[in-house]
Amino acid sequence: MAGLLLLVFGGGVAGAFGALLGLGGGVLIVPLLTLGFGLPLREAVGASLVCVIVTSSAAASVYLERDVANLRLGMTLEMFTASAALAGGLVAFALPDRALALMFAALLLYVAATMARGRGADLAVKPAPDDPEAVAPAPAEAPGNGLAASLSGPGYRVRNLGRGVLGSLVAGIVSALFGVGGGIVKVPLMNLAMGVPLRVATATSNLMIGVTASAGGLIYLLRGGIDPYVAAPLAVGVFAGASLASRMADRVDLRLLRVLFVAVLVVTATQMALKGLP
């Protein structure tokens, strides 16, 4: 019983951190399960994918209701994130655990560096759409074909769809290999390269995470990579933690939290790297 509660609590902390810092929580869940509970990396990734889908579905429903997420852009990019997640899921079962651990350590360091530069906190703050800082500078005559124009939203025009496709492929592979949402790739890409306002990019990325993670998650489920005794309490904890944190985001010192989070990521990356070394 104590183990069950510990797992729910651990999921709650990961979900709260993830929600406050604009991440899915997967970067914390996988190390929690492998380093904290001694689970094999692949089972940890399977459980993390479940958690990522739960938080994505819950958050995306609110974003759609408020008309913040761009459904058409998200679904167009999902063709590529889901394809790549399918490939990533198959590759994950072919790679040795040690290689996955080393690659995960590299991912953690990348996320830590991104957070240290401030991008991660930007994701959590979610400025208003009329905030000039929130929108990447758009050219006066936004180039683009009919498809890009049809995916644009009120006040912005989607551009560089090709770069969006490439970034989506990377995000999909990262999601299935490491059990994360891939928002750390998609949000800056949509905002900076494609001209999508930050708030819309964050919401659209959240919407896409569900389909991306479910393409990878199905492979884990059907190949015995999901432990229901671990995934269920963790997912409920993550759901509760993320829901609670989103209500108290205004009362938390995000700068302090970010410093703490970067420190945790660097220590965790070191431990994951040690796990991966022969």
Binding site: V54, L218, I219, P228, A232
Partner: protein, 116 residues
């Protein structure tokens, strides 16, 4: 800003899917606690869709857990299917094709996953 009807319906699908998933998973966790099953007990039950109804009827934790996990994983696909219907109804042929492709990729994942 007010969401369009399609966005509202798709959002509702996700909200209902999340609530059902978390509800089923919570029932499974309660059943785990009642059956003295720990999260690190080995071996854990493998997914077998054919066993789920029998496990549910017997109030076995695995039945609720697998049904909840299936609901989690399939909720985004139901969202895509709902979007497909909405796009088709409104005559958006390009987006209908996009939704069909996304659904096909998810089906391919299931086929390749089952084949491994």
């Amino acid at each position: 800003m007010k969401a369009s009807r399609l966005e509202r319906k798709v959002g509702l699908v996700l909200a209902v899917g999340s609530a059902v998933s978390v509800g089923l998973l919570t029932l499974g966790i309660v059943a785990m606690g009642a059956s003295q099953i720990g999260p690190l007990d080995r071996p854990f039950p493998r997914f077998d869709l054919g066993r789920v109804p029998a496990d549910l009827a017997a109030i076995e934790p695995a039945g609720f857990l697998w049904l909840g996990l299936l609901a989690v994983i399939l909720t985004p696909s139901v969202r895509v299917a709902a979007s497909l219907v909405g796009f088709a109804a409104s005559g958006e042929r390009r987006m209908t094709a996009v939704a069909l492709i996304v659904l096909a990729i998810i089906c391919l994942s299931a086929i390749l996953g089952a084949g491994g």
